[in-house]
Amino acid sequence: MSFRFRLWVFLVGAAGFAVLFAVACFGLPAFGSGHHPYGVRAVRASLNHHTANVIASVNFDLRAFDTLGEETILFAAVLGAVVLLRQTQDERRKTPEPAVVHPRVRRFALLTLPLALLVGLYVIAHGQISPGGGFQGGVVTATALHLLYVASDYRALERVRPLTVYEIGEAAGEAAYVVTGFAAVLAGSAFLANVLPFGTLATLSSGGTVPLLNAAIGLEVASGVVVLLARFLDQAVEIEEPGEDEESGDPREIEKPRESQGPGKPRESEEPRGCGRPKESEGPEASGASRDDDNRDDKRE
């Protein structure tokens, strides 16, 4: 399709969509009205289970099954990234070089690291009482660890980041959620039922299974994000594409590759491509760029 034709097809579609959505918006309940059927029911149910943070209650008690699915989406995405960003047979690994870091940056990062770590763990642990929980706290915790990369260099990060441990941690978080669900069944209740004592409202031990599920998610998210970032950092810092390095030996390997595949899309999509402009290709070039070694230096002084 030519650019012009594509644009017209899209504009016609978008105009139809705009009209449809505008009409729909007029059918929405008035802004600021007091009619919140689900909200009212959810608050009541959450307080009955002594969970002060209603959002956490919705996520980990009322609709805990949704959260299982959402957690698994992250789990699958990380697993997928691990598989897709794996070191292929024609790629080589090189040792990252030590980097010089400005002392002020180093001091700042080393100072913030324990603080951020503590905040992350706090947010996970207090999910049932105050805003936050496993998802948010998990991300903060994982980010905290990466302050070490800012403070020092990739080798320092790799030392505190045995990937195997985090990969197992991620799977353990996923499994813990499922097992908590099964435990309720073994206790004679429904899957993922809140079978533990609810405790005193607004204390750390309140909410029954909510803190447990929060912890499972926290473990999964923190480990998952570490693994995910590790995969991308590996591609950027450690893994070399064939041909990137003159010494890489076998000339056949240099030939194989990604750039030679040309613009765009499946050549095999045996349709003649009227619009094959190299600029528009999404595939190989994009991934090639992300493997660029240089972007690391930009971060350094």
Binding site: G27, R41, T72, A175, V178
Partner: protein, 608 residues
């Protein structure tokens, strides 16, 4: 234990398996991780079958309904998520699980070398994929359905791009991911509209609340948006472009799942959401739904068949055949009768086995000859008579040859469709004949070397020389699972059509599925739905004759094509249609937007 308690297990068991494999996969030998994957998939299949048995039990009695976490609604309004084991949903979960077991057995000897340090990652991703599809089939909650819709998407994108050594799988996976994610956003937007209106997320609850008032623009928009995402998954025209690009490059075992069940789940989603949410007086009027789906279904069937005939890349050929059959499924759903639904369900059951078997045979060719190009393979597979026979049988079953399940499904669906428009049975015959004929043509050339060697036409891009066997090196001897699995799948497809008990169970499932009030009462009030008394779908003389007719036509087409390759190749008339499949993601997104507008125009009369 109550059977309903097993419902969450259908989702949780494969997830636990995936977690175990992801954690321990690095230390397990290949055999152990494959066995573990199979064991978890088989356990899931067993629980799905148990639920199905309970749900499919004839006689009065509600089907299993389970409120996760025990959040049973009080006075008709609740806060929880419900799982519903009605025979159709539970049956689909069982189909998914059984096919996953078959796929894991097939991939036993398939991949050369699993990713280093991540031996368990392939079966783990397959198990996550299974959990997503099973969850989508049995959930009775719209938002939960969206979560599982996304879950199966994420797993499928990663699986499609699994062979990262080549650029094409990544590009196919990218197109798949972008288009399906946009569809999912549309669905989510539709769900928020319904939630804003009703304050509910359960299918039955939303339906009940909507029926307290008349339909308006918001209901229409919600229907269009929710359906758009599902139609993207179902690869209906003009949302279908991602499918051939993804199916042509995905590893063969993944293709078996994508074509066999995932795409069909999109059709299931459209039918499920319509019958539970929009079929009442507050939803979308029946004629508008019928018109919209009929138009899209007919377009999809015709375009898929036309493109299928012109392919020489076997996986693309099978992918377009899936597109065209999805069109036929959509028509079966569009007619809005219990017969249409049960016919389509039978068709999907039969088609899943046949299509997966055909992909499995193609995988053998890829691993043996390092190509799946029809012209390049000409006569080369003469030494594989068993695979050739399986491929031919698959082609014949795809045409709707009695007594295959695909044949019975086609016969029942086309009869149901014939009541809506007299010419629809002709479309079923034509489309089955063309897609089946294309498969038979390829089979004749590849396995028998029949006819003249086809010459490459001027300007026709090569589809050869870029395939790499997925087993690492070319296979010398064909390992047993690579032949046993397609044979078993075809036998299962035959059994579905030949055993009357299956047909009568599916007939009952279709009747329960289309009973909107019964579904809502069973889910929300815990009252048993009365089993509707309908004659079970069975072989009728017309159906048998039409099945034989389409098979005969397909054989004639295939024979003509191998005799005169030049005249039957790629008609110039269809060049613009071919060019639409450009591989450019921007094109696909533009068509997605246009499709949403088309769906709106077709359904507008439904809210008056």
């Amino acid at each position: 234990m109550d059977t309903a308690r097993l419902l969450p297990l259908v989702v949780a068991a494969p997830l636990l398996g995936a977690a175990v494999l992801a954690a321990t996969g690095r230390w397990l030998p290949r055999l152990a991780s494959d066995l573990l994957g199979c064991a978890f998939a088989a356990a899931t299949a067993a629980s799905a079958l148990l639920v199905l048995f309970r749900a499919g039990h004839p006689g009065p009695g509600a089907y299993p309904v389970e409120w996760v976490g025990g959040w049973r609604p009080v006075g008709g309004s609740g806060v929880g998520i419900v799982l519903v084991g009605d025979p159709l949903g539970a049956g689909l979960a069982a189909l998914v699980s059984l096919l996953v077991v078959a796929v894991l057995l097939y991939s036993w000897r398939y991949f050369d070398e699993p990713p280093r340090h991540h031996t368990g990652s392939f079966p783990a991703l397959i198990l996550v994929f299974q959990a997503g599809m099973c969850g989508f089939a049995i959930t009775g909650d719209l938002f939960n359905a969206f979560v599982f819709f996304e879950l199966m998407g994420v797993a499928a994108y990663a699986l499609t791009g699994f062979r990262v050594e080549e650029p094409k799988p990544l590009q196919g996976a990218l197109a798949f991911g972008v288009v399906n994610s946009l569809g999912a956003y549309a669905t989510l937007l539709g769900i928020t509209l319904l939630y804003a209106r009703t304050g509910e997320l359960g299918l039955a609850q939303i339906g009940r609340k909507l029926d307290t008032a008349g339909p308006d623009g918001l209901v229409l928009a919600a229907f269009v948006l929710v359906t758009t995402g599902l139609l993207v998954k179902a690869a209906a025209v003009p949302f279908h472009f991602w499918l051939p690009d993804a199916h042509a490059v995905a590893p063969t075992p993944v293709c078996m799942l994508l074509s066999g069940v995932m795409v069909e789940l999109g059709v299931y989603g459209v039918a499920r959401v319509y019958w539970t949410v929009f079929a009442g007086p507050g939803g979308l009027a029946h004629p508008a739904f019928t018109r919209a789906l009929l138009v899209l279904g007919v377009l999809t069937a015709l375009l898929g068949a036309a493109m299928c005939w012109q392919q020489r890349h076997l996986k693309r050929l099978l992918a377009f055949s899936t597109v065209s059959h999805t069109g036929l499924f959509l028509i079966g759903v569009a007619v809005l009768t219990p017969e249409g639904v049960s016919g389509t369900a039978l068709y999907v059951l039969g088609h899943a086995g046949v299509k997966a078997a055909l992909f499995a045979c193609t995988g053998v060719l890829l691993d043996r000859y390092a190509t799946v190009d029809e012209h390049e393979l000409f006569g080369r597979a003469r030494g594989l008579p068993v695979v050739g026979a399986l491929f031919a049988v698959g082609g014949l079953a795809l045409c709707g040859l009695p007594p295959f399940g695909s044949g019975l499904g086609k016969a029942v669906t086309e009869e149901a469709a014939g009541h809506t428009a007299g010419w629809l049975p002709a479309l079923y015959v034509l489309v089955s004949a063309v897609t089946g004929g294309a498969v038979l043509r390829a089979g004749l050339r590849i396995f028998a070397g029949a006819g003249r060697r086809p010459r490459d036409q001027e300007g026709e891009p090569e589809t050869t020389g870029e395939e790499v066997p997925e087993t690492g090196q070319r296979l010398g001897r064909i390992p047993a699972p690579l032949v046993a699995v397609p044979a078993a799948l075809l036998t299962a497809s035959l059994a579905i059509g030949a055993i009357p008990a299956v047909a009568s169970a599916v007939g009952r499932a279709g009747a329960l599925f289309t009973d909107t009030g019964g579904y809502r009462r069973t889910v929300l009030d815990g009252r048993a739905a009365a089993t509707p008394a309908l004659p079970p779908p069975h072989w009728q003389t017309t159906g048998v004759l039409l099945g034989l007719l389409s098979t005969g036509l397909a054989i004639a087409l295939a024979a003509l094509a191998v005799r005169h390759p030049a005249r039957t190749g790629r008609p110039a008339l269809l060049a613009p249609v071919r060019r639409l499949q450009s591989g450019h993601i921007g094109d696909y997104v533009a068509w997605l937007a246009a499709g949403t507008a088309l769906l709106t125009v077709l359904t507008v009369p439904g809210i008056r």
